[in-house]
């Protein structure tokens, strides 16, 4: 297929992060065409036609999100969410590393469609190199007249500001991102009002993921209908999957949506490592439910994976082999959420702490069956009760692992040690 890969097509090109190189590969053509062929309204319609869904995790249709902005309320803001912090997820870093201008172009196209004059790229604090790359790309774009007043003679003004976060997972949640951008504590806001109505500085705001925005130059150039023809009906286009775990070739791979997971695992990732067999995998990053080997024949389709009880989330595939203790993995993930809980609401703040204490006891083999039952009840008391999805998702992996690997959890009770690790040790000996 000539059109595939899409976002990563030119990533092999030397110095693609330079504006001149990016332009030689056809860069900023999307922006030029957006000005030439579209009004903001028709551009929003085109994005709607493409059927593209947000790549940040929730998978909300981007065009629909855009259409929620109230008419005639200005200024409006666009925030590019580059606060990629999902465990196992590193696609945005890859996109920025390789082609920061592709993102800048996407930001500008979205800004034009939404009539935004100031756009922010909120980038994760730990992504220092990527922030510097982006800042440089923005300066280059400004020097070349892609950012600033009357861009390319279109009469459209737009400034792009790169803002580094301070290192909090929660700031990937759109309202927490907005709070952080305003200089407040990064904590989610009460909704409604939704950011589309009252967001950054109390104005209508759209928050889009890096990968979503990177798709825009291609949608503009090739058309929404064409984009829709890629992938499946419910999941159009391509997506970048960050593959990690016990596989031969970990890395980021762009896949046409609808491709079976098996193809990603066996062809792109080179299959499981020698001596490893697949025990379980997590298709959407740290917060999503665990799936079993039988699920590798599922297509990379948001709806299909959802039906299987998980989600493609932010596109992080973590493959685990037979020596992986699911209790251990659960414990580590729970520790992550406990550490990243913003502390705003009670079930998440105290629940993750409670959960983490129980998980440590369980993994060490000191928990009683009653405490295992408590763990499951604690999770039930958190899921759906929290202020934002962070607290809810802190239970999803644990609950799904408990469901699929009940024996393993129960074997930990009063075992005095982790039975899975003990078994692996014995085998090695």
């Amino acid at each position: 297929m000539a059109e595939f890969p899409l976002l990563t097509k030119d990533f092999g090109t030397q110095d693609l992060h330079e504006r001149a190189v990016y332009e030689r590969t056809g860069g900023y053509q999307g922006l030029r065409e957006a000005f030439k062929r579209f009004t903001p309204e028709t551009l929003i319609a085109e994005v709607k036609t493409s059927g593209i869904r947000g790549r940040g995790g929730a998978g909300f249709p981007t065009g629909t999100k855009w259409s929620f902005l109230p008419k005639d309320v200005f200024p409006r803001y666009l925030c590019c969410n580059a606060d990629e912090s999902e465990p196992g997820c590193f696609k945005d870093r890859y996109l920025i590393d390789k082609s920061p201008h592709q993102l800048v172009e996407g930001v500008l196209i979205a800004s034009y469609a939404l009539q935004v004059n100031v756009a922010f790229i909120y980038i994760r604090g730990e992504y220092r190199d990527q922030r510097l790359l982006l800042e440089r790309a923005v300066e280059e774009a400004r020097a070349a007249g892609f950012i600033g007043k009357n861009i390319l003679g279109s009469g459209f003004d737009c400034d792009v500001i790169v803002h580094g976060g301070a290192g909090a997972y929660i700031c990937g949640e759109e309202t927490a991102l907005i709070d952080s951008l305003e200089g407040l504590r990064g904590q989610p806001r009460l909704k409604p009002p939704f950011p589309a109505v009252k967001g950054l500085y109390g104005q209508p705001t759209v928050v889009n993921n890096v990968e979503t925005l990177c798709n825009l130059p291609h949608i503009v150039q090739r058309g929404g209908e064409w984009f829709k023809s890629l992938g499946t009906e419910g999941s159009t286009g391509t997506r970048l999957f960050c593959c990690s775990g016990h596989i031969k070739k970990p890395g980021t791979y762009e896949m046409l949506l609808g491709t079976p997971i098996r193809e990603l695992l066996e062809e792109e990732c080179g299959g499981m490592r020698t001596g490893s067999t697949l025990k379980a995998f997590q298709p959407g990053g740290g917060s999503m439910q665990v799936l079993l080997p039988e699920h590798v024949d599922l297509p990379l389709d948001m709806n299909e994976v959802q039906k299987a009880g998980s989600s493609l989330g932010a596109g992080a595939m973590i493959f685990m082999d037979q020596d992986t203790c699911l209790v251990d993995v659960s414990m580590r993930l729970v520790d992550f959420y406990q550490h990243e809980s913003c502390g705003k609401c009670v079930p998440c703040r105290e629940g993750t702490y409670f959960e983490s204490q129980l998980m440590h006891k369980l993994e060490a083999g000191h928990a009683t069956p009653a405490e295992l039952a408590t763990l499951s009840d604690i999770c039930a008391n958190m899921d759906g009760r929290c202020f934002c999805p962070l607290g809810d998702t802190a239970t999803w992996f644990v609950m799904s692992a408990y469901k699929h690997f009940r024996d393993e959890f129960e074997a930990h009770c009063n075992a005095g040690e982790c039975p899975v690790k003990a078994r692996a040790r014995e085998r090695a000996a």
């Binding site: 809980s341 609401c345 702490y353 008391n381």
Partner: protein, 642 residues
């Protein structure tokens, strides 16, 4: 139980909602929490607070609402037509147990030594809705600082804090001072002061009241009493003329604290620190306890109240007989009740027949009811507010909070200006505003009148901040030269300072002083000379002081928290005060003393002077007070004023 949604009703701006099978129609935009309260259904809350915007962080109020996939916070969800809410099913019971279990995970559970026990929402809701036991397996709780002084008034226990944000929001939304902040995150989150500084606010005493648990406590109240041991007397703060409603909580014949008693029309439940922490002065044992006669040149002796009243009558009659009724000066106080002042005015004018009566030192010219037309709650309706000088807010601090509310909720502009500000300048600054409030203190009444007259193009209303808890009542009751009760014109007389000067020069021969009157004692030397020169000084006072010390007849009075009566605040609101303490002396109340004195002086139609009877008589005589009742505003029409 399946519930049916309420049938749609008429389009009257109200919506029908069904909660636990019962229907109620409430205004659009009402929160589910408030709709439930209307039905008498209790929904436990921690972060929600009637005076603060919702944040929905504690998750205690989650309820089941049909058609919602997840439980919704009642404190932040507005009702919709046909909404069906359940607060009492197994799901809600379980989630409440879950939230309470979470809240107690890192709570120190030190209820036995916690000062909040008995009025702690965490304790109360845990008993009512919580699980009986904890399943938390680890003793490794997160620890924070305990008993951390934040100022001379407030102490913080970070371990007991449940992070409901109320104190942070109080500073953000009510005072705008932002002194308390949240730091760290997750279970390490803690409440502390900005930069570790001490609290400086004049309104920090409200913090323990917004705190639902034992985290923020009053240093002056800690460990002084358990709430169930307190006697609660609903009264009015005696510190200024704003008339904040309080509960005077006492134990063992001592007032232990002033707690707020929400009156949305006056204090909006907030007290200032000056008022709140003024309570210890009412526990003082330094009192006038026995009636005494101290004839000039004679020997001082203790007498009964009846004897003292007879002696007072004798002395006053002697002066009137010898020098005429105009030789008597009568001084009331802004700390007296309306009932006392009403009797004092009648005693002076009708019985003694002197025109020389006042309650303060300065002359008051051209008193106009229009200067109190702007009610406290009306401040929120103003587009622009002009505050002349720092005195209004220094005199009545809680006014500041109402001004901030008008700024925050309505976007009103508050212009705080110097006394010297040019009225036409002010007028141009508020141009375009439809409703304008002009607020000044009593010394700047005339300037405020000029400012109000200069403003054109908007409805202007004025508010004069009177002095003393009942400074307004003293004027309404006619304890003023030239104006009788109800601002009826009376023969002109001397004002306060002139009375003292005339007594000092010998022109007035007798003084009748109803105290306590701290304002009088600021008169200085002239007061001493007046008291020394007068043939007769009849003093009814509760505190030993300059006046009581120089009395020829001294009759003990009752302190503010030992008597019944009404006081009128700066906007004319008539409010009841009630005794929180037993009287320190067995002598009759001031109203009875005044009635007996009148009888001794020959008055026929006076009754025995029970405060309730005096109040009835007062209301029969003054229509605005009859209309105001208890808690309403007495408003005077301009014609009534001479």
């Amino acid at each position: 139980m399946t519930q049916t949604p309420a049938a749609p009703g008429p389009d009257d701006g109200r919506v029908g909602v069904t909660i636990d099978g019962r229907e109620v129609r409430v205004p659009k935009g009402t929160l589910v929490l408030d709709a439930a309260t209307e039905l008498g259904i209790h929904i436990p809350i921690y972060c929600a607070h009637a005076k603060l915007d919702p944040v929905a962080v504690c998750r205690m109020c989650l309820v089941h609402i049909e058609k919602f996939p997840k439980p919704q916070p009642a404190c932040a969800t507005t009702v919709a037509e046909g909404m069906v809410v359940t607060t009492n099913n197994a799901e809600v019971t379980k989630l409440r147990e879950g939230v309470l279990e979470f809240l107690l995970v890192n709570h120190p559970l030190d209820c036995p030594v916690c000062d909040r026990g008995g009025e702690c929402d965490l304790q109360d809701f845990t008993f009512r809705y919580g699980p009986g036991t904890s399943r938390f397996p680890i003793t490794e709780k997160v620890h924070f600082a305990k008993a951390l002084p934040l100022s001379q008034h407030i102490e913080l226990d970070q371990e007991r804090c449940i992070l409901c944000w109320r104190c942070v929001r109080y500073y953000d939304e009510i005072t705008g001072e932002k002194e308390i902040v949240l730091q760290q995150r997750g279970v390490q989150t803690l409440v502390t002061t900005f930069n570790g500084e001490q609290l400086k606010s004049n309104f920090q005493g409200n913090l323990p009241e917004v705190c639902p648990v034992g985290a923020l406590t009053h240093r002056e109240y800690r460990f002084r009493a358990r709430p169930w041991e307190l006697q609660r007397a609903p009264s009015v703060c005696p510190e200024c003329s704003y008339g904040c409603n309080i509960n005077a909580d006492s134990r063992d014949f001592e007032i232990k604290r002033f707690a707020s008693r929400d009156n949305p029309l006056v204090d909006d439940m907030w007290l200032c620190d000056r008022g709140r922490y003024s309570f210890p002065q009412w526990n003082t044992s330094e009192r006038v306890r026995r009636p005494q006669l101290r004839p000039r040149g004679g020997e001082q002796r203790d007498v009964t109240a009846v004897e003292a009243i007879s002696a007072a009558a004798r002395e006053l009659r002697a002066v009137v007989d010898q020098h005429g009724s105009g030789a008597v000066g009568v001084l009331g106080s802004a700390l007296n009740t309306n009932e006392e002042l009403w009797l004092l005015g009648r005693l002076a004018r009708d019985v003694i027949g002197t025109p020389h009566i006042d309650h303060q030192l300065e002359p008051f010219e051209k008193l106009d009811p229009a200067e109190h037309a702007l009610g406290i709650a009306d401040i929120e309706e103003c587009d622009a507010l002009v505050v002349l000088g720092a005195e209004p807010e220094a005199e009545a601090p809680v006014l500041t909070l109402r001004l901030f509310k008008a700024e925050r909720k309505r976007g009103a502009r508050v212009h705080r200006l110097d006394h010297g500000a040019d009225p036409s300048r002010i007028a141009s600054a508020v141009r375009g505003a439809k409703t304008i409030g002009v607020i000044a203190d009593e010394t700047n009444r005339a300037h405020a009148a000029r400012v109000a007259a200069a403003i054109t193009g908007g409805a202007v209303r004025r508010l004069t901040v009177t002095r003393g808890v009942n400074g307004r009542g003293a004027k309404d009751m006619g304890v003023l030269p030239g104006l009788a009760a109800g601002y009826r014109s009376a023969p002109s007389g001397k004002h306060g300072r002139e009375i003292l000067e005339a007594a000092a020069s010998g022109a007035l021969r007798a003084l009748l002083i109803l105290g306590p009157n701290p304002a009088l004692e600021t008169a200085g030397d002239v007061l001493q000379r007046a008291l020394a020169r007068a043939d007769s000084v009849v003093v009814i006072d509760s505190r030993p002081g300059v006046c009581a010390g120089a009395a020829t007849v001294l009759i003990p009075g009752h302190a503010f928290f030992e008597k019944h009566g009404t006081v009128t605040n700066l906007e004319g609101r008539v409010q009841r005060i009630r005794p929180a303490l037993p009287p320190a002396t067995p002598t009759p109340t001031e109203t009875r003393v005044l009635s007996s004195l009148a009888a001794e002086l020959g008055a026929r139609d006076w009754d025995r002077g029970e405060p309730s009877a005096v109040n009835r008589a007062l209301r029969a005589a003054l229509a605005p007070y009859a209309a105001a009742g208890n808690g309403g505003r007495a408003t005077w029409v301009a014609e009534a004023v001479a």
